[in-house]
């Protein structure tokens, strides 16, 4: 760690990367999948594939949603309506249970909300759709993890993200020939091939990696670094939120009854103000009271920034009270754009595919980094291993964690999708069961990896992942009628469903290819009359 900047940065890069790489792999896999979370959710709800046909105008969808809420949640102080768009063909409504209703006080903040998915044309509750968290689970997984309080998870992920940032910066500093080596890839050369793969996936998508890590921290920056609010606002978070984001606090009921104005004309007025841009959300407070408000937010689909301009109307009279977000201040806009770049909400299908490819590049970068550490360490211990010693504790642990994460995660993802198709549609707590399938599959893979971290385990798990992923389109064909035959060959079903089937097929084939190459190398090594091979040792996949 002494001699020179490059050496110290190399040390820092190795350790800051290694200690968090398995968590980061989960974050990258979940995050990359999240770019298509709406499409994943649609795939996981075959009952909706027909409804994805005819789009409904936003004003109609808003009106039918309000009618549903007036029938089913008349005394709730706050309604939220998410209007349908190209990526999600249904209306989502969310409301806070009114005080005094059963269940309004228990279960913490999650327990106070109720949500439903509605058919946008009729406002009817789509009750028979199979219950699933869909792509939202994968999205939440990458920052809220699971089986723990979100607050803890976000601190853990934040710490890992800081390590990632340090790893990126130290990696760039230590990479001596970053421009000369930018296109270099030397296959079948053992450690050097792993290094080349790690460098290529890292450098070719470097802007993305730097952006995604920093903007990831920015999305929760007031949690990680509240000190600005502490000094400038003496800790008054509400005052800061009000000034920075124009959020009005929930008003108090006046006690006077006043019917809610029709929402459709307000939506039309908002669309005129925004030159035809569609609204995405309607939030209504204290419906039926004289102090009701209706806040309509514009979809940020056209702009990089995630901050949505909004218009607030008086709910009893329909008068416009305030508009915000039409001309945001520079720092606010910077933050909005940063969060927007992280979420890529603005991206159409092709641009979204580019983000997805960069995300996959990130997954490969993390995986090859971890594998490279194992290869280098094995090289250092080569003499001892050849003499019959066991691998060191650290090496064995890293090998086992690598198998469990790199080969195990694809198995977990595949299990989640298999569970979606195989579990009975009407079962109770269905979303939890699907999620349990994800973690159960992962746990089995991880435990088996710890027991026998050898090349055979790599091959077994890679083949399992490959078959499970590539098998999903087949499973889809056996369990629904919106399979590739209909969606792709006959061109009728939702394109998103075809895209999902093709993507998992491609990923399965890629894993299968990796497993096959690994098998050939193992066979080649076995054919050579080798020196005594130590128990449990796993040489580099590319080693000659």
């Amino acid at each position: 760690m002494r001699a020179g900047l490059r050496q110290s940065m190399a040390w820092l890069h190795g350790w800051s990367g290694l200690l968090v790489c398995w968590v980061l792999l989960l974050v990258f896999c979940g995050g990359t999948a999240s770019y298509f979370k709406d499409e994943i959710t649609l795939w996981m709800k075959p009952e909706l594939h027909r409804a994805a046909a005819a789009p409904v105008p936003p004003a109609e969808a808003a009106a039918s949603a309000v009618a549903f809420l007036q029938r089913n949640a008349p005394r709730s102080p706050r309604w939220f309506i998410s209007l349908p768009d190209e990526r999600s063909p249904v209306t989502q409504v969310l409301w806070i249970r009114a005080p005094g209703e059963p269940g309004s006080g228990i279960g913490g903040s999650r327990g106070r909300f109720e949500s439903r998915t509605l058919d946008p044309a009729t406002g009817a509750f789509l009750g028979t759709v199979r219950d699933t968290r869909g792509g939202e689970f994968l999205y939440r997984l990458h920052f809220d993890l699971y089986y723990m309080q979100p607050l803890w998870a976000r601190w853990i992920i934040g710490a890992c993200a800081m390590c990632m940032l340090v790893a990126i910066l130290s990696g760039v500093i230590t990479h001596r020939r970053i421009f000369q080596d930018i296109f270099t890839f030397r296959p079948r050369k053992g450690q050097r091939s792993w290094l080349d793969a790690h460098n290529a996936t890292a450098v070719l998508a470097l802007p993305f990696h730097l952006m995604i890590t920093y903007t990831g921290l920015v999305t929760l920056m007031f949690m990680y670094m509240p000190w600005g609010v502490q000094t400038a606002y003496r800790g008054d978070l509400q005052a800061f939120n009000n000034e920075a984001f124009g959020r009005a606090p929930l008003g108090l009921p006046s006690g006077q009854a006043a019917p809610l104005v029709p929402v459709a004309p307000l939506v039309a007025q908002a669309m005129r103000h925004w030159n035809g841009a569609g609204p995405s959300r309607v939030a209504i407070t204290l419906a039926g009271d004289a102090n009701a408000t209706v806040t309509i937010s514009r979809g940020s689909a056209g702009a990089l920034s995630v901050d949505e301009p909004s218009m607030r109307f008086d709910g009893a009279t329909g008068k416009l009270v305030a508009t915000s977000g039409d001309a945001p201040a520079p720092a606010s806009q910077t933050r909005g754009v940063m969060v927007g770049l992280h979420e890529a909400h603005f991206a159409g299908p092709l641009l979204r595919a580019l983000f997805f490819v960069s995300g996959l590049s990130g997954c490969v970068m993390v995986a090859t980094g971890a594998l490279l550490w194992g290869v280098k360490t094995r090289q250092r211990q080569a003499k001892a291993l050849a003499a019959g010693a066991r691998p060191s504790f650290g090496l064995r642990l890293v090998d086992a964690l690598n198998i469990g994460a790199i080969a195990g995660l694809p198995i977990a993802f595949a299990a989640y999708f298999w569970a979606n198709r195989l579990l009975p549609v009407a079962m109770a707590h269905r979303p939890d069961a699907e999620i349990r399938a994800f973690f159960a599959a992962w746990a089995v893979a991880a435990v088996l990896a710890q027991l026998h971290p050898a090349r055979a385990m790599w091959r077994a798990q890679l083949w399992t992942g490959a078959l499970m992923l590539a098998g999903i389109p087949v499973l889809n064909a056996l369990t629904t009628d919106t399979h590739l035959g209909a969606t792709l060959l006959r061109g009728q079903g939702p394109a998103a469903v075809a895209g999902f089937d093709l993507t998992v097929l491609a990923l399965g084939i890629a894993l299968g290819a990796a497993a096959w190459v690994l098998g050939r190398r193992t066979a080649a090594r076995k054919a050579v009359p080798a020196a005594h091979q130590p128990h449990g040792a796993r040489d580099a996949k590319g080693a000659t």
Binding site: F179, Q180, I182, F183, T184, F185, R186, P187, A200, L204, A205, P207, F208, A303, L304, L341, F346, G348, L350, L351, L354, F355, V357, S358, S361
Partner: protein, 118 residues
């Protein structure tokens, strides 16, 4: 981003990076024999063509989507377009260069078509 802009940008990025790779001694030697190094004039020509192709790719992205999203799309195209260059250079370097010329031409045509479209 429409399909034509995507393909034109991809072709141009591939062409640009293939060309630029030849300014690096290692990849020039891959194609022209060990130890050979591009001369100063040739290096300048390669740099010029390569960077021009990347700039035209930026034009293809921005033309259709405006500067903010176009720039984001371009950065993504740089990643996607560089990957086949890396793979080709490691398996079939000569092919990489021949393809560079063709894809540059095709990408250029695509860009002209984009300008011509309403």
């Amino acid at each position: 981003m429409n399909g034509l802009a995507f393909l034109a940008a991809l072709a141009l990025v591939f062409s640009g990076f293939s060309t630029l790779s030849q300014t690096l001694d290692r990849h020039y030697a891959d194609r022209n024999g060990r130890g050979s190094v591009p001369g100063a004039a040739e290096r300048m020509r390669l740099h010029g063509l390569g960077w021009a192709a990347l700039a035209l790719a930026l034009a293809a992205c921005v033309l259709e989507q405006g500067w903010p999203m176009g720039t984001v799309a371009w950065v993504g195209m740089l990643t996607l377009g560089a990957l086949p260059v890396v793979l080709l250079l490691s398996c079939a370097p000569a092919l990489a260069l021949r393809a560079a010329g063709w894809s540059g031409a095709l990408g250029g045509c695509g860009l002209l078509a984009l300008r011509a479209l309403p």
